[in-house]
Amino acid sequence: MTQNGIALPAQMRQDMLKKMLEIRAAEERIQGLFLENLVRGTTHLCIGQEACSVGVAAVLQPGDTMTCTYRGHGHALAMGMTMKALMAEMMGKASGACKGKGGSMHMTDASIGLLGANAIVGAQLPIAVGAALTSRLKKTGNITVTFFGEGAANIGAFHESLNLAAIWKLPVLFICENNLYGEYSVWSKTTPVRDIAVRASSYGIPGIVVDGQDAECVYHEVSAMAERARRGEGPALIELKTYRFRGHSRTDQAPYRPKGELEEWLKRDPILILKERMIADGQLDETEFEELRESIDRQVVEVVEWAKTEPYPPVEALYEDIYYEG
C-alpha cells in the first residue's frame, strides 16, 4: 500500500472529520427510515467507506465533476449536496435533489458537479469519460472522477472506459472502492487478480493501491493523480482498499463474511483513524469529538423530521422532464 505521512492542515482535517461524521449520521438514520418504510425499495450504505468519498472530494476544485454508484449518499454529501436535498430525495419528496424522481440510488446535483449516481453497475464510467472529454475540448483544466466497486471491474464498461480514456488522454480518475464484496460474493471468487489496480497496465495508465480507510492518505494519492490529469497527462486507476461495515443493501446481515473479519476492520474505522491522529497532534480532544458528533446527529435528526413533513410531488410531475420542451 502506498503511504504518505504528510499531515494535512488542521482545518482540512477538521472538515474531513466533520464530513465523515455527517455521512455516518445520515446513513444510520437512513437505515432507520428504511425499516420504517419511509425509504422504499432498496438502499446501500457506505458506512466504513467514508474516507474514500471525503478524501477524493477534498481534492476537487470548482468545475470538477463526479459520477458514482447507488452506494452514493456519502459521495453526494462529500461533494456538497445539502442534507435537506438528500433526505427529502430519500423519501421521494418534491424538495429532494431530483424532485423525488431519483431516490436513494440516483443522488444528482449538477450545480455542484455531481453528474449522477448510477444503479447500473459500471454505467457511470463511460459518462465520466464523456464529461472529461468536454473538459479537454473546452480546455477548462477540470477533471472528472468516477467511483465504482471492485465488482464493476469485471463489467465491459470498465474496460472500454479505461481504454477510451487512455487513447483520448482524458482528465478522468477511475476510483475503485474495493470493499471486498460484490453483493454477497467475496471478490476472490469473481476476480482472479489480487489488486484491481494491476488492470491499469492493460491500458498503459498508472494504477495505484491506496489505504481507503485513511482520508489523508486518500487525499494525497488522489491529489497526485489529479494534478497529473490536469496537466493533460491522462487518466489513472486508483484502488482504495476499504470495507463496508454493513450488509450490501436493505437488511442484509452479511452472513457470508468470515467470523472476525468485520471486527478486524472496525479497528480501522476511518473516523477513528482521523480522530486519533488529531487527538495525538493536539487538534481535538474526546469531549470536543463527542460534542461534534452529537451536534451533527441532532442536525441530521432535525432535517429528517423536516423532510418527513415535506410534500410529495404532484402526480402531474410524472409527465414532466421526460423531454426538454423548447
Binding site: C98, G130, L164, D321, Y323
Partner: protein, 326 residues
C-alpha cells in the same frame, strides 16, 4: 438545381452543423480519417480537425456513454454506430442512461446528443448487419427516433436532430445512400421532428411506411393507379414524436389502412399505428387494417431469401388490393 444523394445529405448536414456550432463534435469507428465504412463522412476530419471529428475504439458502450457525458456538460455530440444492428451493444447507455438522465435527475440536465446508425436490408450484409431497429427503441420514452427517407429529409431531419436539446437517434437506410434527388440548394433546411409527409395524395386507401418501404409503396401506388386504386402514401419521417394527426386525417378520408414495415411483425411499430387507427379512427374504417412486414422470419444472406423476406412492390400491392376488396 443540383443532384444530391442521401449519402451527400448526411455529410452536408454534419458539416453544416459542425460549422454552425463549435460545441458540435462527431465521433465513431473509422469515421474520421477513413471517412466511414459507407463513405458518408469523408473530408470532415480534414476540415474540422481531430479535436472535433474523432475515431473511437470498437467500444460502442463506452463511446455512446461518453456522448452522454459530453452532452450533459455542454457539448453537442454526434456519435455514429456503424450498423444499427449494434444498438444492443450500447443498449444500457441508450435505454437506461441517455433516455432517463434528464428525467431521473428531476430535469437538471439537457441531453443534446445525436446517434446516427445505418440500418436496413437489401445490400446482402446478412443476418446481423441488415436489420431495421426502430421497434427495438420505440419502448423507451426519453429518446426521439428519426427515419429519413428522402434526400431533403436526410439533411433537414439530421440538422434538427443535432440542434434538438433531447437525445435523437437518426436511422439511415443504407440502401438509400445512393438514392439521388434533383434539388434546389435553398431547399436544404431544417425539417421539424414529429411531422409526417404525405408523399402521394390519394382518396381510396392510406399506406403508412418509411424509408425503403415508403419508396416501394410509392411504386406500388403507381402500379395500382392503373387498376383504378388511388393510394395516399404517408411517410412518417419520425417515430417519436409520432404525427398522429396526419395519419388520422388520411384515414378519415380513405377509410382504409395498410402499414408497411421492414421489420418482424411482433411488437413492430406498425402495431402502434394499427392501434391508433382502432382507438381513434375506428368509425372511419371500412375494412380491416393490414400490416405488411417480415412476419416471423429473419434476414438471410442468399439473394432470393433476402428478397423474399423484405416486403417488395408486389407484396405491398397485393396487400392493398386485399384491403380494397374487403
Amino acid at each position: 438545381m443540383i443532384k444530391l444523394t442521401y449519402r451527400d445529405a448526411v455529410r452536408r448536414a454534419l458539416a453544416d452543423a459542425l460549422r454552425a456550432d463549435e460545441n458540435v463534435i462527431f465521433f465513431g469507428e473509422d469515421v474520421a480519417e477513413a471517412g466511414g465504412v459507407f463513405k458518408v463522412t469523408p473530408g470532415l476530419y480534414e476540415e474540422f480537425g481531430g479535436e472535433r471529428v474523432m475515431d473511437t475504439p470498437i467500444s460502442e458502450e463506452a463511446f455512446i456513454g461518453a456522448a452522454l457525458g459530453a452532452a450533459i456538460t455542454g457539448m453537442r455530440p454526434v456519435a455514429e454506430l456503424m450498423f444499427a444492428d449494434f444498438v444492443p451493444v450500447a443498449m444500457d447507455q441508450i435505454a437506461n442512461q441517455i433516455a432517463k438522465y434528464r428525467y431521473m435527475s428531476g430535469g437538471q440536465f439537457i441531453v443534446p446528443l445525436t446517434i446516427r446508425a445505418a440500418q436496413g436490408a437489401g445490400a446482402g450484409f446478412g443476418t446481423q448487419h441488415s436489420q431495421c431497429v426502430e421497434s427495438w427503441l420505440l419502448n423507451i420514452p426519453g429518446i426521439k427516433i428519426v427515419v429519413p427517407g428522402t434526400v431533403k429529409d436526410m439533411y433537414g431531419l439530421l440538422r434538427t436532430a443535432i440542434d434538438d436539446n433531447n437525445p435523437v437517434i437518426v436511422l439511415e437506410h443504407k440502401v438509400l445512400y445512393n438514392y439521388a434527388e434533383e434539388i434546389d440548394e435553398a431547399e436544404l433546411t431544417h425539417v421539424p421532428l414529429g411531422k409526417a409527409a404525405v408523399r402521394r395524395v390519394g382518396k381510396d386507401i392510406t399506406v403508412v411506411a418509411t424509408q425503403l418501404m415508403m419508396h416501394r409503396s410509392l411504386d406500388a401506388a403507381e402500379r395500382l393507379a392503373g387498376e383504378g386504386i388511388d393510394c395516399e402514401v404517408i411517410d412518417l419521417r419520425t417515430m417519436i414524436p409520432l404525427d398522429e394527426e396526419t395519419i388520422l386525417e388520411s384515414i378519415a378520408k380513405t377509410g382504409r389502412l395498410v402499414i408497411v414495415e421492414e421489420a418482424p411483425h411482433a411488437g413492430g411499430w406498425g402495431a402502434d399505428i394499427a392501434a391508433l387507427a382502432a382507438d381513434k379512427g375506428i368509425y372511419w374504417l371500412d375494412a380491416p387494417v393490414k400490416r405488411v412486414n417480415m412476419g416471423g422470419a429473419l434476414i438471410a444472406y442468399s439473394p432470393p431469401l433476402e428478397d423474399e423476406v423484405v416486403p417488395n412492390v408486389s407484396r405491398i400491392a397485393d396487400a392493398i388490393r386485399a384491403v380494397m376488396r374487403a
